[in-house]
Amino acid sequence: MCIAIPGKIISIDAPRAKVDFNGNIVDVNVGLVDPAIGDYVLVHAGCAIEVLQKDRALEMIELFRELEELTK
């Protein structure tokens, strides 16, 4: 149900942080995660709900590799 999108942490002033979404800088609450500057976080309703592990391109590569393994 939930629109959440990835953005990059550019500064932290706990529990808030400034997150960059392709040039849009938004104040986000990071109380639910343990982020570092430069991390990508998934943001929903003004809150970071998770730190993302990889960038999108790498994620897709991993996804298909995993799928290949699972469906052998």
Partner: protein, 356 residues
Amino acid sequence: MNVEQIIRELKEYDGPAVKIMEVCGTHTASIFKGGIRSLISPKIKLISGPGCPVCVTPAAYIDRCIEYAKRENHVLLTFGDMMKVPGRNGSLSQAKGEGARVELMYSPIEAVEKAKKNPDLTYVVAGVGFETTAPAYALAMEEAVSRGAENIRLLTALKTVLPALQWICENDDGIDGFLCPGHVSVIIGSDAYTRLAGQFNRPFVVAGFEPEHILAGIYEIMKQLNPGAAGSGAKPAAAVRNLYKNAVKAEGNKKAQEIISRYFEPGAAMWRGLGMIPDSGLYLRPEYEAFDAGSKGLDEDIKLPASCRCGDVIIGRINPDECPMFGKACNPSDPYGPCMVSSEGACGIWHRNIRQ
């Protein structure tokens, strides 16, 4: 393996008809946006589940929201999704047009800042959502408590997904597999579906929202249901698979789960189309009662016409276009049931998708 290969295999599938339920309004929307149905075999039927919190909220809740918005010195804060949903006396949007104080919010945490700035007003937050949004309301509560903002109230219509999935599995054995809501899973973790997968022996696959994620999820479900043309006899036990590891951990987000339990506790909740499901709602804990705007007991609903089949659509028993009112008496500009009202409801999306 690549996405073209997956698309080819899914397109060519010609085995027994399969019904896959995706339980998330955002998945419903992504499937539509990506044109996913046009890429897969017509034998693979994608059904929308009750994953639209707006769609499953009874009219009594909307009525209470409007009541607060019209009350002197009160402001109702809500997400855009709720504005057009009709209660028994019109929608929030209509009420706003008549002078009710309704303000859109981007995050519930904004409420605290507003409350501090305007101590003479009472801010009532329309708290709708699933586990993805529950932590945001919990964070708002935390801030309200720590900053002593007493002029904030929460009117909750928060629901949890697992009890609804359980209900569906118990009441409809026509669903062969589930695409689990990606962002709810970020919070609750992929392990949360293990019991259901085991009890009902159906695949539960956690997927993200890009077309590639969704296709991969469908592919994995199909592979679990039809392990191979080799016809190897007994099917392996259905499994939970996490195909959104970038964001979803097996155990989920512990901090988020913890803060949800700090401020909320489970209780029975009314799901339009499904009925009362025990322990499927989240309500403020008794120690925070002072912040609650009367969230319990808002179960009554609009009397829908006898021919409305929303209940069946919401649980995927029929497709929207199988409802006799679909596209005729009931359409996006003149909606009756919840499925058509919300732009993310199955009927609303279906209507935009197949209307020619």
